[in-house]
């Protein structure tokens, strides 16, 4: 498999007061180019750490994280990251937030403006381009953050529970919007979530993780066609896969003691 992102025997520990916490105990995972992979698991299974390492914000203790076959060394605009807490710069307007990465990349003014407007339009925030984040709802803030990531045109999108803080209705809308954009530009997406429905609805492959030590518990292929629709969401096949994932998340065997 020609993998876009690959984790090879990744180990990451954090020192605790009188022990070490094994966030990831030897995780291997390959994500193909243009694939949409979601990761679910109980808290403490290291799913956010996994994403953080792909983003280059954290380094593995041992093992390696490769993007396009090259070891990750620090963050870069080839990998867009969306955080759960939106992480918009509150002193900048929607437009200025979206422009931020383009300015860093020294994109010429005219092209910068074009790409900014395009990204803002894509997430439906054109009417709010000059608004400050404090005047936006949670869903709009996250759309702005998504536009900011799209603007620099990354090949990989790393999303860390991006819709976790949103109400159910907004969440579904943003899921559909995300899939629609993905179906057009086919970026590789690594999407962390704790919502089983979300994981199954979005992904072509769901990675179920287990905690203590953090590891890949199961990988479930979602053999549902794209585009995903409400019909699919309500289909028996969706429910079957959802139940399968649910069971493997919530009824994992007791954690290994020898962590």
């Amino acid at each position: 498999m020609n993998s876009k992102i690959s984790f090879r025997d990744v180990v990451k520990t954090f020192p605790l007061k009188d022990a070490t916490f094994t966030a990831l105990g030897g995780v291997s995972l390959d994500i193909a180019d243009q694939e949409f992979v979601t990761v679910v698991g109980p808290s403490g299974c290291g799913k956010s750490t996994l994403m953080s390492m792909a983003a280059g914000l954290q380094e593995p203790d041992s093992g390696s994280v490769l993007v396009d076959g090259t070891p990750v060394s620090g963050p870069g605009p080839d990998r867009g990251v969306i955080f759960q807490q939106y992480a918009l710069f509150p002193w900048l307007t929607v437009r200025q937030n979206v422009e931020f990465g383009l300015k860093l990349a020294s994109v010429p003014a005219e092209e910068r403006r074009r790409r900014t407007e395009q990204a803002i339009g894509l997430v439906g925030l054109s009417d709010f381009a000059d608004a400050l984040p404090k005047t936006l709802s949670g869903g709009m803030k996250q759309r702005c953050a998504i536009a900011r990531a799209y603007a620099v045109d990354p090949q990989v999108l790393l999303m860390d529970e991006p819709f976790g803080a949103l109400d159910a209705l907004t969440r579904v809308q943003l899921q559909d919007q995300l899939l629609q954009t993905w179906s057009q530009d086919k970026r590789t997406v690594l999407f962390i979530t704790h919502d089983v429905d979300e994981a199954v609805y979005l992904a072509s492959r769901v990675v179920v993780m287990a905690a203590r030590p953090g590891r890949v518990h199961r990988v479930v292929d979602v053999e549902l066609p794209y585009p995903r629709t409400e019909e699919i969401r309500l289909s028996p096949e969706f429910r079957r896969i959802r139940n399968e994932v649910w069971t493997s998340v919530y009824h994992q065997e007791a954690p290994a003691q020898a962590a």
Partner: protein, 270 residues
Amino acid sequence: MAVITPPEKTAAGQRQQQPRRSRRRPLVLNAVALAAGVALWAVVAALGLVENLPTPTAVAQKAGTMIADGTLVSDTFASLRRVLLGYALGVVVAVPVGFLMGWYPTVRALVEPYIQFFRTIPPLAMIPLAVVLLGIGEVPKIAVIFLASFMACVVSSFQGVIDVDKTLINAARVLGASDRIIFAKVVIPASTPFILVGMRIGLGASWATVVAAELIGAQEGLGYRMQKASTWFEMDTIFVSLITIGVLGLVMDRLLLLAERRLTGWQERR
């Protein structure tokens, strides 16, 4: 002295800009309270309830003569000059020092013991030392005011850097920002609310210090004028000086508040 509200950070986005109409009401109430206060003062003074308390009219008359003979203007100018010089120097030095302390743990470890030590000493207590070391000219007065504003500002700008939301730094980093860019484009704007609070506290401390500093060996200034007036029992002069200090402090605080509103209006407030 105006109440200083700390910068607020809230997750939930609640817009709370009050409608214009209700914003005028407190102003009316302020004026009413002020008038009532002066009226009470007039009554107390007229009835002679407090010995040697001058009447508002006597104080106003005295202010008139002090303005006419130029003493009030020259005193105000002298005090204002000291405050502005010491205060501005304090802010200008404190902000970069605070930034460096927040950004580089080494700088923090080197500087912090001194800051923590001198912070426990009230600037006023430094006056005798300043006089011995620096004489009785302008330098010791400005030095003490400098110290007062520096101490107030350095801690808040340091705190501002420390408190910058780590996800904002990460967000900039994943968009390709270098440390230098992160400092300029994220850390500085994010810590502005803290710095402005420190600046307001520092301004209050500077005013408090100037009066005391002028008690020793000054030739002019509002504090000096009060000191001199008290030996001659000129209560009205003391009141004129006091009110002038209060008004100047209030005006400067309001100016800073205005700057704060303009610079940090992006903050989400509860």
